[in-house]
Amino acid sequence: MVKGYDYSQLSAVSRRRFLKSAAAAGALAVSSSSGILPAFAQDVIPKKGGHFKIGVGSGSTSDSLDPATYYESFMYIFGHSLNGYLTEMDPNGNLVGELAESWEPSKDAKTWTFQLRKGVEFHNGKSLDADDVIASINHHRGDQSKSGVKDLLKTVQDIRSDGPARVVVSLTEGNVDFPYLMEHYQLAIMPAKDGKADNSGVGCGGYVLDGIDFGVKATAKRFSNYWKPNAAWFDSIEVLAIHDVAARTNALTTGQIHAMDRCDLKTVHLLQRNRGLELTSISGTQHYVFPMFVDVAPFDNVDVRLALKYAINRQQLLDTLLSGYGQLGNDHPIATSNRFFAKNLPQREYDPEKAKFHLKKAGHSDLKVQYHASDAAYTGAVDAAVLYQQDAAKAGITIDVVREPADGYYDNVWMKKPWSANYWGGRPTADWMFSTAYAAGAAWNETHWKNPRFNELLIAARSELADAKRLEMYTEMQGLCRDDGGAIIPVFANYVNAMSTKVGHNKIGSNWDLDSFRCAERWWFTDV
């Protein structure tokens, strides 16, 4: 099962043709609601040059260049410009090799061998070899590690080299999706120095660090010895932290930046009228969750949970909160774009009568519950709660919305109060998402849900190599989540970004905002 992706074999023209046809096929999957163009391939030859400015709605003075501490999109985008990763999600949602040319699992998916690409150079002139990869991954492991991916790598038993260009990873349990973990934004490959990873900002990505003022802006220049052909077109890039969405939008309309993330969905219909801008709306994995503690009354009764699930008007949330830029959720965290998405599971609808029925079955004639929300969870979380409150009232359910302070929300409220607001950026694989927030004993099992059948399937599916069998298993798990789980997942939110029409691009990746955080590498100016 070698899934290599050889960049050097594709000439500029054939690569473009390939992307175009791929885009045409993928266009069907991309939402084209409300007149926003799906990200079509453009029939222009990319050109080199220009200074590309990106405005993002995050970035903090407490950021740092150490990938173990990357937090929020400002550092994710800049990190993807400076660094290379073992694997990469291509715009079609397939996992391809970046610094790894190919990889192969053992029969039980417990041992993975990565073959590294040759001729990759770091910004400091060092050539990539197995020691760099080992040091970079070990940077996040061990007792001393304060990395956010420490937990993700806890099944890694051992990592060793097999010659300068091969890395062998042994796991404590089989994991068919292991290479997907290697594209995580924190697992940047850094050069090894005396056996330790050098986390000073030296990478092997398309741009070399020029200057960074944390929480304000970061600049980088094109790396002349970048190994990837047909990528990193800009002479230099600049990432600006612009937290206020109106400020971001104004900067884009006045030409002070060329692209922005997280458009204001309240006003996006007005922004669309601007002919100098292009809006992209990509359906990805990010979704809004209303997690209930299934071990706390009244949520410990499955009928109460079902009543609450029927009492939310998903279509209204999608239309009002997201202005239509999203997909309906079906109370499980797997996105439609996932290859194991359960297509045959009926969509749950708003049905106050059914809600009343389940409430009665649970022995309640009416229900009064507190819901804790803050816009710290996601923009519009409080509005979503207010809408839900109105819908649920029609089913005899009184939701008392408590707005919590944005500051300290994730410490004080989320996973502390029995019912609170949360959002997941999503994970590229079903196993990853389920293991993160739905498995019994997972650190972020935000619903305290412990379904024995679900957990049995989760472990079985992880080392199952046959896709058909896995689909069957994941479908059953999505059903369990939907009908028994404690999470109400009403909508999946699209990545809605805007850019100047001067910016050229191919099909846009759906992994994260701004072409899966790779806009600096993948996009170009059409007017240079």
């Binding site: 969405v245 006003t267 009002t320 207010v386 109105q390 707005r403 302070p405």
Partner: protein
Amino acid sequence: MTLLQPSGFIRTGARKFASAPLSAKFGMAVIILYVLTAVFAPHLAPYSEAEIVSAPFDPWSAQFLLGTDNLGRDMFTRLVFGARNTLGIALMTTILAFSIGCSAGLAAATFGGWTDQLLSRLVDVLMAIPQLIFALLLLSIFGTSIPTLIIVIAILDSTRVFRLTRAIGMNIAVLDYVEAARLRGEGPIWIMTREILPNIAPTLIAEFGLRFCFVFLLISGLSFLGLGIQPPTADWGSMVRDSATLITYGDITPLLPAGAIALLAVAINLVVDWFLHWASGLKED
């Protein structure tokens, strides 16, 4: 110097109002209108406060007088209820802030010496902590119920009132007639309320008119930090915040709640101006 007696104040006030200039009458009329709106909000509003009646951002129509907001709630209804919630909170906060700030400021000006030093340094400490940070600390620790909100904002505001009261009070406290009262053996309370307060009242009332408006702004500033009034309660400050981005496209929706605040601010200060003019003892009109 004008001396204000509570009973005489009302009688003179009523007489004076008849002869008040048009601007003051207009101000009074607006304030009365706002108060009536606040009191009779549920009867005036066509819908209930949180009811979702239509699609978001419906245009103005006979059905929805001022259109609908970002969630599809009737804008007119929200404005009417906003009057009730915002006015009450702003008034209580300002009165509380002035009670604390004025008494402390007067005490500092009258007693001077260690009392003054102690109070002034305490206020220095309170003011030295940036307002938003201080509010954040207090509200995160004590919660965001409406009484806490009122107390926290009042305490923050009272430091500013203290500074002003003390500054102008000190000017008066050294005047001859205050000195004379001291020599007569009048108690400090008498000096504060009968000698100093009447003479600084006009400036304080002018300040009151402004501070009152600042409360709205502080509430909207707090909603910037996710604190402030609980949804779905309508308040003007948060209403401006919710729709503010529309203004960058030339859409005037956020001007409605902002305008409601502005009109009230102008009205209150027109009345204050008239009072001030009258209290200053100027004969001209």
